[in-house]
């Protein structure tokens, strides 16, 4: 699925380096081209630079060297949810639209449908602290999708959830990806998760993309399948090497 031609790439890192005033560079010479509609997963040990890469893609950081080409309109889902506790579920989901000065009429037409599709319509008037972790993450996803972003960035969104909830959210993310054609760039700390979702897994090591693994298995992927676990093992081997 890797596509190095300029024409169809929606995110493009060219010789990107990132260093802060103090200490060693966080990213070194990263080259990455993500094709429109692709689902890419970043895996790697803590401190390998995957968060910085995602933040660069989000426009939250600027590269120290090289260039990052990215669309202006980006949806991002955070590990902690990052919902605003003073707003209802509805208002949280509408937050990005209001930030972008969308007319209320449009918001009314859009947000209820979105909450419906994320299975949280009945909680519209509740506030984040009244929700479970999974429900909060659904609000976070709804908020990110509300602005119709061409790219969805996910920063370990499922790492604090129980396996059952994680499984349900995996299905939802795949469904959204297929329905909307959104490009997904996701950080995961689980190799199995990355292989079961992405069509390309990038292994990062000390600020570089160490390895790229295309995943061609059809969905839904079965973690028990021999080819699946073989690929997971290959990545794991390299991860710990």
């Amino acid at each position: 699925m890797q596509n190095d031609s300029n024409s169809n790439s929606i995110i493009r890192f060219a010789n990107v380096g990132k260093a802060y005033d103090t200490g060693a560079p966080v990213l070194t010479d990263v080259n990455l081209s993500i094709t429109r509609g692709e689902f890419v997963c970043l895996v790697g040990a803590s401190g390998c630079g995957k968060s910085t890469l995602l933040r660069l893609a989000a426009g939250l950081e600027t590269p120290s060297s090289g260039t990052v080409a990215r669309p202006e309109n980006i949806g991002m889902v955070f590990q902690t949810g990052a919902l605003l506790p003073w707003l209802s579920v509805y208002d949280n989901a509408a937050f990005g639209l209001r930030a972008k000065r969308t007319p209320e009429r449009e918001i009314h037409a859009k947000v209820p449908k979105l909450l419906q599709s994320m299975g949280i319509a009945e909680f519209a008037e509740r506030r984040p602290h009244e929700l479970s972790g999974g429900q909060r993450q659904r609000v976070g996803i709804a908020r990110a999708l509300a602005i119709d972003p061409p790219v969805l960035l996910l920063d370990e969104p499922f790492s604090a959830l129980d396996p059952k909830t994680t499984d349900a959210l995996h299905k939802d993310v795949l469904r959204i990806w297929k329905e909307t054609g959104v490009t997904v760039l996701m950080i995961s700390h689980l190799i199995e998760e990355a292989v079961s979702l992405a069509d390309r897994v990038l292994l990062m090591k000390s600020g570089r993309i160490a390895e790229t693994y295309p995943v061609a298995f059809p969905y839904p992927r079965r973690e028990q399948a021999a080819a699946f676990s073989e690929l997971v093992e290959r990545i794991r081997h390299k991860f710990f090497a």
Partner: protein, 268 residues
């Protein structure tokens, strides 16, 4: 379907623990009532016979409260930009926070004579008191707010930035709401300090050579000090009962409600 367009409802009741509710709604009012009854029992008859008309005392209280409130508004108007500025960058924090610390620890009243001479020179009698009150109130709000702004999770700020919020809109939609609990506690401390200082800040004549109580600002603070100096016990007691009752009522009906309201702005 939703039937309201903007999501801001003010009435939210939070479940407080029973001991907490007992304390704020039973113990505190009961104690205030008991003190009042004891004072009236002890001094009641002479108090009511010789005290100034309640109208005057309440007017003095009103004048003092207005002075406090105006000072508070000025203090807020200064504190919010100061706190936002200091927390903007690590550099600003390193340079200005120690400076604020020094300014906070300066004893305001030590400078009061100079301040009064300056303001009175321009005929701004109320200005002197308001100035001292603003200085007193400012730093509790600033430091509380700085703590609050620092405590905002990075993800939450990032969520705003990814949606393109910058500058004033970022402040209004993320920073200020997130700081509400700290604004409330800062304001509470500011008023506590204000009530404390007002006792002195209204009594301008002690700093103005050759003048008498007529140079003072009309208020409950100057009423207390002058009654005490003149040996007018009844006036003093009446005024202090009114002052204590007013502060207790403010706590019960304003601050407790604001603290409860602020809960909804807290991150987990």
């Amino acid at each position: 379907m939703r039937n309201r367009s903007h999501g801001h409802r003010l009435h939210v009741s939070y479940a407080k623990s029973l001991p907490e509710r007992l304390y704020t709604h039973v113990v505190v009012p009961a104690a205030a009532l008991a003190i009042t009854i004891i004072l009236i029992q002890a001094f009641g008859t002479t108090l009511l016979a010789q005290a100034p008309a309640p109208r005057v005392v309440f007017a003095a209280l009103g004048a003092t409260f207005t002075r406090l409130f105006v000072s508070y508004v000025f203090a807020m108007a200064l504190a919010i930009p100061l706190a936002l500025f200091v927390t903007r960058s690590a550099l600003a924090e390193r340079v200005f926070l120690p400076l604020f610390d020094i300014m906070q620890s300066l004893p305001v009243l030590a400078f009061f004579p100079v301040i009064i001479i300056f303001f009175v020179h321009y005929g701004l009698y109320n200005g002197a008191a308001v100035f001292v009150l603003v200085i007193t109130m400012l730093w509790s709000i600033v430091f509380s707010l700085v703590g609050g702004l620092r405590a905002i999770p990075r993800d939450v700020c990032d969520a705003g930035k990814v949606f393109g919020l910058r500058g004033f809109r970022f402040v209004r939609r993320i920073l200020l709401p997130a700081a509400v609990p700290y604004l409330v506690t800062g304001s509470l401390l500011a008023f506590a300090g204000g009530w404390n200082i007002i006792i002195v800040a209204e009594v301008l004549h002690t700093y103005l050579p050759g003048s008498g109580p007529s140079a003072d600002l009309f208020g409950i603070g100057s009423m207390l000090v002058n009654a005490s100096a003149a040996g007018a016990e009844q006036t003093f007691l009446f005024a202090i009962v009114v002052l204590v009752a007013a502060i207790a009522l403010l706590n019960l009906f304003v601050w407790q409600n604001l603290l409860t309201y602020a809960e909804r702005f807290k991150f987990e």
